[in-house]
Every structure is written in structure tokens, then in C-alpha cells.
Symmetry: C2
Subunit: 332 residues, 2 copies
């Protein structure tokens, strides 16, 4: 009998997440029901926000329940369209379980534009692109000529923030965790790139931003944010998108500066957002992202792990800076 | 020969400020010049922001130069109006040196409304009132029924924030440093008041704010802010007005929580302001404050030290929680 592999979330992490929080179980393949479709999972997105949902307690999303399948943004191919308009072979995107095959309500699937590579729906034309565009324009309030710092700049969101910033006339400087990542940022159009693992990181950042920081797009928190906070210009805006340095709960990786005192000195604003609360802005943002993408002005490096059994290591690896660009697992 | 006592700023503090940063010098009395007025100082305002100006380095105001007179908001009586419209005996307010008598440009003086107690120009109708009103309305964006937390609530700004919040339909809870101060807050209309020196302060604060915090007006930073950050409601707004816990530079009094991670969990906004950058809002704010004050709806406790030689101890005392309400020195 054919088996359908499914990744289950079985243990809440204490501190750093590990592969032992998950388990691959084998189940029967799903069969269609009314208004539901069977999809074969082709690609799965692995994202930092998933760590937040693995803990109980206050967070901006509901925690994942234990002993249920992990889920996230997916690309798939329809195996059986059931009674819906979808046909076998259609490419779709949506949120569904980390399973080789899954049954999903038709209403929750979006048919992919066949003229665009399918994985674009996981980055430029998906949540990372929307997050970068809405975060930068709505919370960063960019004005041409201003100076933009981006943390986790080699990640999917960060690299798009820098590229969009450049298109909007900003001077983007990226912060990343290796010299190789920094080189790739310069190729994407960042005007500066600084490796936070260098011992002289704060000084190097200051050199890369001699005119200070007007907008800080923060994916990270922790000591990286400390270094940026020392460089804020008057009336700077900080768009807080993620704080990955703090997700694993170790105070040693928390910021050391009095962040609100830094805001006060610069009469600055820090505002956190999650893109899912800004759905009214999605259509305009997607139109803009789509145009820039077709013009070749937005690129995202894909860090693709091959094989369904790579889902768990790829997610754990996110928190060790293993990936560059968008972390994706090719599941089929 | 009569001498004019003047407080000079003579040493930049390292860490906590002390009386040794200042010196009283004796000088000749000033004489009038063109378009200038001689005033006798009646009352001097001592304010937490003065600590920031005593240090070099990045701040939101220029540092005080060494070996010059301290200065601040003052109330005075005209001794000699010179060639201006002011007459001896007129009451005026303005910013001038901590001197028994001073010479000031007429253009920098405001004649006081004789129907209002003169010291009101140092609180309800002065910078503290403007700071409270503009900070709460513009940065707190209050909506009736929401829950307001105020740190340093027994101070001039904090006590006005709570009273204005109450008028605007909020539920204000104050945080202060003694049970006596907390009692006085309840009399001013705060719906709750919590003493941050209690060992169980975070738990008591949580009890006083069972519905969380929609607006936090922060004058303090440090561990008080840590406790409030644990209670933020979704889309909370934090108006950062002061961070007195951090002014003396001791990291032990800095916040311990990852503040930006707290913002992220609640998709909250923290924005710092200094009221001097919002002068366009002053006329409307003063009209409103004046009306409420005349209606008896805004009260400020005055903590008046008597005597010119009390200026220095009163300023130092601010940083030890010595005062309640507005700290004022009666200088003549």
C-alpha cells in the first residue's frame, strides 16, 4: 500500500528548536470530498515565524497544536480536482500541511500564473514580497535620498526590502551573517553590506552608514539592532518585522541597549506589524511586485533543499543562519 | 554692594548627578539694555530633562556648556522694564538663568494672566501640560474605554496625563514610587495606582490592569517599562516622553526585556517625542488646558522648595524620587 508521509509537530521546544520537536508519520493517502481537492506538495516554504507558533503563551499568532501536522505556505500540483474547476496537473498555492499529498478546500487554493516560475509565489509574489513592500512603504515611510538599514538582509524579506528601497530612491545597507552573503547583497543593489559576525561589526556598520539611519527594517533584534540603534537619525522609523534573535528565549541574545532611550534621543518611532493584518493592501502591493518582477528588478535567491525528509532540517537550520534568500524544500 | 547669586554648571556628571556639578557664584546685578528687561526670579522649574543636557553626546537637545549658568523655565517679576512695554511688578514667564535677577530680551518673555496662580505656567499651562496633552492625544491616540498606563504618574506630566486621560474617557492606572503617591493619584481620578517599589510590583500591576494596556505613557523606562510591556494589548501605542531610569547611565537600571519583541507580539507602536517639536499644536492645546483648569478638572500638586539655595538639591532630588507633582523652587 502506498503511504503518505506527513510531518507532525510533537514537542514544544524549550529554547532552541531541534529535530526532536517533529516526527514523520505515514498515513493513507487522502481522498477527495465535496469542494475539496487533492494536491501533491511540490514545494514548501520554511519560515522564521513558525518558531513563534511552536511555543505557548503570548504571540501574534495562535500556537500550533501538538500532535497535528505542521503547515505553511505551499506550492502543489492538483492530483484530483474532485467536483471543483481544478484539473489534475494544475499548479496551485496555499497553506496546507507538510504532507506529500493533502486534501484542501478549493476556496483556500490559488491557481498559479503559468508564465511565472512556481516558487515565486513563495517569495516575490507571496508573503515575503508583501511583507517587504508593505513593511517598507507603510511603516518605513520612505523618502528618496534617505538611508535604509536592513537586518537579516540576505533572507527573502530582507533582500526584497533592500531592492524595493533602491527602486524607491533610498540608500540601502544590508546586515547579514557571512561575507559571502554580503557579497550577494551588493550584487542585488545594496549600497553597503556588513557582516555582523565580524568582531568590529558596530564600527563597520557605522562606516557603511556615515549619514546615519532614517529607516531600519528589523527582522532580527538582539545585538544587531543594538548596533543600528546607535546610528538613528532624528525622526527615524523602525519597521519591526521579526525578532529572530529573541525567539529561542535566551536572554543572552537579547538587546543590551535601552531601546526606548535610543528612540527618545532621536524622537524615533518603532512599529511592529504582521502582514496578515494588512490584507487590504495586498492587491496594490501584488500588482506593483508583479510589475517589478517582470521587469527583472526584483530577484530572490532560493535556497532549495531537495526531498521531503529535508523539511525538518531546513526549518531548524533557519535559526542557525544556514540559508541565503528564501528557504524552500522541494518535497516531490 | 548687593550681590546677585547665580547657579553655574561646572562639572559634567558621570553616572548619578550630584551637587558637585554646580556652584553658586556671586555677581553684580544686571542692568537693562535695549529691548531687554530685568526680572527678579520668583519660581524656577526643575525638570528631569535637565539631566540629559548635562552630558555630552547624542541627545535630543544641545548639551549645557560648562561654566555657564544653568537655565530653565522660570516665573519672575519685572524689576526694570527698560524701554519695553513691561512695567516693574508685572509677572512674566520664560526661560532664563538660575539667577536671583536676570536680564532677558522682551521677546522671550510672556506676560502672565493675573487671574491664574503664577506657578500654573510651570505645570498645567506650561511645558508639563503641553507634554501631557500632546503626548497623550497625538501619540497615544486615545479611544474612549481604552486602558492607559502612566509611569512616573505622580510627577507633573504623569499626573496630568492620567487626569486628561480620564476626561477623554480612558481608564488610567498610575505607577509611582510610594504608597503615599499612589493614594494621591487615586484622589486625582486615577482608577488604579501601583507602587513600583513593592516586591510584587509586576503582579500588582497586572491585577490593576486586568484588561491589559492600550496606551502606555512612559516617563521612566527601566524595570517599570518591563512590567508594562508584559501587558500590552494588540495594537497598543506607547508614547515615550522620558526615560529617567536610564539617564544616569547605569545599565542595571535599563530594561531587561527584549522590548522590540514585545512590540512585535502585540503589533504595537512606540514613538518618542519632545514637545518642543510640536509648537504648531500649542495654541489649541493651551486653550483646552486652560478651559479644563478653570473648570477645576486638572490639578497639579506642587512640591515647592523654599530658597534660592534649594535649586541644586531640588534638581538632584528629582532623580531620587523625592518630589511629588511639579518640583518648583521659590527663589525669591
Amino acid at each position: 500500500m502506498a503511504v503518505n508521509r506527513v510531518v507532525y509537530f510533537v514537542k514544544r521546544p524549550e529554547g532552541m528548536i531541534s529535530e526532536s520537536c517533529f516526527e514523520i508519520r505515514e498515513e493513507a493517502f487522502p481522498t477527495p470530498e465535496e469542494e475539496q481537492v487533492i494536491v501533491k506538495s511540490l514545494y514548501a516554504s520554511v519560515d522564521p515565524y513558525m518558531r513563534g507558533r511552536m511555543s505557548l503563551g503570548k504571540s501574534y499568532t495562535d500556537p500550533f497544536p501538538l500532535n497535528t501536522p505542521m503547515q505553511g505556505a505551499m506550492i502543489g500540483e492538483v492530483v484530483d480536482g474532485g467536483d471543483t474547476d481544478l484539473k489534475a496537473g494544475d499548479r496551485v498555492s496555499g497553506v496546507w500541511p507538510w504532507a506529500e499529498q493533502a486534501r484542501i478546500a478549493r476556496a483556500k487554493l490559488k491557481k498559479l500564473d503559468p508564465s511565472v516560475p512556481p516558487t515565486a509565489a513563495l517569495h516575490v509574489l507571496g508573503m515575503p514580497g508583501l511583507t517587504a513592500y508593505i513593511g517598507l512603504t507603510k511603516f518605513g515611510q520612505p523618502k528618496p535620498g534617505q538611508h535604509l538599514a536592513v537586518s537579516a538582509a540576505a533572507g527573502a524579506v530582507g533582500s526584497l526590502v533592500g531592492q524595493i528601497g533602491k527602486i524607491l530612491g533610498l540608500h540601502p545597507v544590508g546586515i547579514a551573517g557571512s561575507d559571502e552573503k554580503c557579497q550577494s547583497l551588493l550584487k542585488l543593489g545594496f549600497e553597503g553590506a556588513v557582516n555582523y559576525r565580524h568582531a568590529e561589526f558596530p564600527e563597520e556598520l557605522k562606516k557603511a552608514l556615515p549619514n546615519g539611519v532614517d529607516i531600519y527594517f528589523d527582522n532580527v533584534g538582539g545585538p544587531v539592532t543594538d548596533a543600528v540603534m546607535a546610528l538613528l537619525n532624528p525622526h527615524a522609523r523602525i519597521a519591526i518585522c521579526g525578532q529572530i534573535a529573541t525567539y529561542n528565549g535566551d536572554p543572552a541574545s537579547w538587546p543590551k541597549r535601552p531601546l526606548f532611550a535610543d528612540l527618545l534621543v532621536s524622537r524615533a518611532r518603532a512599529e511592529a506589524f504582521i502582514v496578515g493584518e494588512h490584507q487590504a493592501d495586498f492587491p496594490a502591493a501584488l500588482t506593483q511586485l508583479h510589475n517589478w518582477y517582470r521587469q527583472g528588478r526584483l530577484r530572490v535567491e532560493e535556497s532549495i533543499s531537495d526531498g521531503f525528509d529535508q523539511l525538518i532540517p531546513a526549518l531548524v537550520g533557519l535559526f542557525h543562519g544556514a540559508n541565503r534568500g528564501k528557504a524552500i524544500v522541494k518535497t516531490n
